[in-house]
Amino acid sequence: MFPSYNDFETEIEPEELRKLTDAVLTKYGYDFGNYAQSSFKRRVIVVLRKHGIKSMDVLIQKIIHDPIFFEQFIHDITVNTTEMFRDPTFFKALKTLVFPVLNTRSEFNIWHSACSTGEEVVSLAILLKEENLLHRAKVYATDINHSVLKKAESGRFPLRNLDLYTQNYNNTDPKGKLSDYYKIVDNEIVFHRELIEHVRFKHHDLAVDHQFFKFDLILCRNVMIYFNQKLQNRVFELLHASLFLNGFLALGAKESLIWCKIADKFESVSDHEKIYKKVKL
């Protein structure tokens, strides 16, 4: 069942959220203190309700004393919604605006910086393969959530989404058929290993971790909407530092970098598809 707002009478005050994020930071080193307050509060309410926990103090005690519960908490707090070829026109734009530039290089690096369960990674790999670019790509895929990374590594997705994924793929102006790339096994779509065997899946927290490599293309889609502006600014600094000059940055459909402090170091490649290019060091 969908959670119904009418059910939760749980009220959370900002100070209580602060107590929670402070406790998590001290104990585990994860910093949720600069997540967007409006949506973070709602995530916490969902957790309280899911476990029938009545007060913030009880939640904090449980988190501090039970690392397994904490992993589950991370899973529930982070929003993992994703799909293959999410926003097909975006992937089409990557092909026409970014691939030709990548094609001029003998090798290039790509970072999926909040990859969730990996649908975005496989989607891009398919398109790279169709343009005969895949073997030249070094790909990192990272997330804060260990359990989605594990799923992403498996390259398996639930069968129920196949129609949507096929439709999305067909809207990217593809060269082949989606069915060229998978088998169906035990009610799951199992993608060919060659699409992800070269991908390094790795834990990386945009809120606290640092640059680890340099990239020609970074996808950071639909994660910064969960951050407040202070944290967004930190992430933009990190992404900027992780890009080669003239490297590309792709954001989610409703995200934009106009409000970030270093906006002038980027140039828009496609306003509509939220593709930017690093033009200044």
Partner: protein, 196 residues
């Protein structure tokens, strides 16, 4: 002549208007935006459910008659007067701070994304008694929890007169959840807004 008792009009009290509706609300909203005073000085933020196959062109359709530009905000865009903001398809629209919007793709609430409850609840948290909320015609209960939160934080609640609604589930639920400050036909609601 607006036909309201001056004492009932809380001039200069509000800082934001939030509107929710679903089935049957489109023509109502469209007409309100046509008759709105072009100098209206509060930001208007709307969450209207849309049918799955009618996602595209919604903003454009609303804009045809509107006296103010209709905008689907991006994350962290400024909340400003002189514009009508509508929640983009498939995203929850939230009031993040008094200055800025937030967006989220978290689970559906009341079978809906965008959800009126989510918008109103976040608006109540941030704008408290400076919020004016309006619930229009609709076929589910989204918005009821939202107006309750608005009321709780001292905000103002208006609901479209059931007689006029093509679908009454939503306004009825809102009336039951929070004792509305006013229940009026849509053109009266509009007159009220134009007097603020």
């Amino acid at each position: 002549m607006h036909g309201f008792d001056e004492a009932n009009i809380k001039k200069n009290k509000f800082e934001i208007v939030v509107i929710g509706g679903s089935a049957g609300s489109f023509p109502v909203v469209s007409r309100m935006l046509e008759k709105l005073n072009p100098a209206f000085k509060l930001p208007i933020v709307m969450c209207l459910h849309r049918l799955k196959d009618k996602r595209e062109g919604f903003k454009e359709a609303l804009e045809i008659k509107s006296v103010l530009p209709v905008v689907e905000p991006n994350d962290k865009d400024l909340i400003e007067p002189g514009k009508v903001f509508i929640a983009p398809a498939n995203y929850h629209l939230l009031i993040e701070t008094k200055e800025r919007f937030g967006l989220a793709t978290t689970e559906l609430i009341q079978y809906s994304r965008p959800s009126i409850d989510v918008l109103f609840d976040s608006c109540a948290d941030v704008f408290m008694d400076k919020a004016l909320s309006i619930v229009l015609s609709g076929a589910n209960k989204d918005g009821a929890f939202g107006v309750k939160r608005i009321k709780k934080k001292g905000g103002f609640v208006m609901v479209q007169d059931l007689e006029e609604c093509s679908m009454t589930t939503m306004p009825e639920a809102a009336i039951n959840a929070a004792k509305p400050d006013m229940i009026l036909p849509s053109m009266k609601i509009l007159e009220y807004l134009n007097c603020l």
